[in-house]
Symmetry: C2
Subunit: 97 residues, 2 copies
């Protein structure tokens, strides 16, 4: 495999992986592989408070790894694209060896 990229790209890559480097965020992303979920649902599943989840979702949103949509009072988050899934599954593969 041939790779070529400049230094700025590598900074961006580091930023990208930062999203996956925290257990809360990666567990959130993992939950979203299944289906879209509301903030409170995620909070409950991870047994964490709503604010913590909300803060992390904002980071993921800013990095364009998740999207959201409002339905009444509830906001549903979902994965932005397949890349996210691919990155996570590659990580899981690496760990399971």
């Amino acid at each position: 495999m041939k790779i070529n990229c400049d230094e700025n790209t590598l900074y961006d890559v580091a930023e990208l992986f930062k999203n996956f480097s925290d257990s809360t965020r990666i567990r959130i992303l993992y939950l979203l592989i299944d289906k879209e979920r509301s903030v409170s649902e995620i909070a409950e599943l991870l047994n964490m408070n709503q604010s913590a989840i909300s803060h992390q979702l904002r980071l993921l949103k800013n990095s364009k790894l998740v999207r959201n949509r409002r339905e009444g009072k509830t906001i549903y988050y979902s994965l932005a694209d397949d890349h996210v899934l691919n990155i996570i599954s590659q990580g899981i593969e690496h760990v399971n060896e």
Copy 2:
């Protein structure tokens, strides 16, 4: 793609990605894609001091992402396996879109 893993695995995955989430470390890894390199060579290429590089190499070594071998006074580091390359190139791909 179907994924199934337990919570502990996700913690490990977060640990794995932590290695790629710092620009110094990812630039080190990127340099090692080419070929093995000594600590001082890496330090010079990244324009950083030897100690900083050495500390980061230790982290990468502990995570088994790099290996090293001694040749006289010099210690050469290289990527541990293709996974590392795969993860980086996937990150670059994602960023270049």
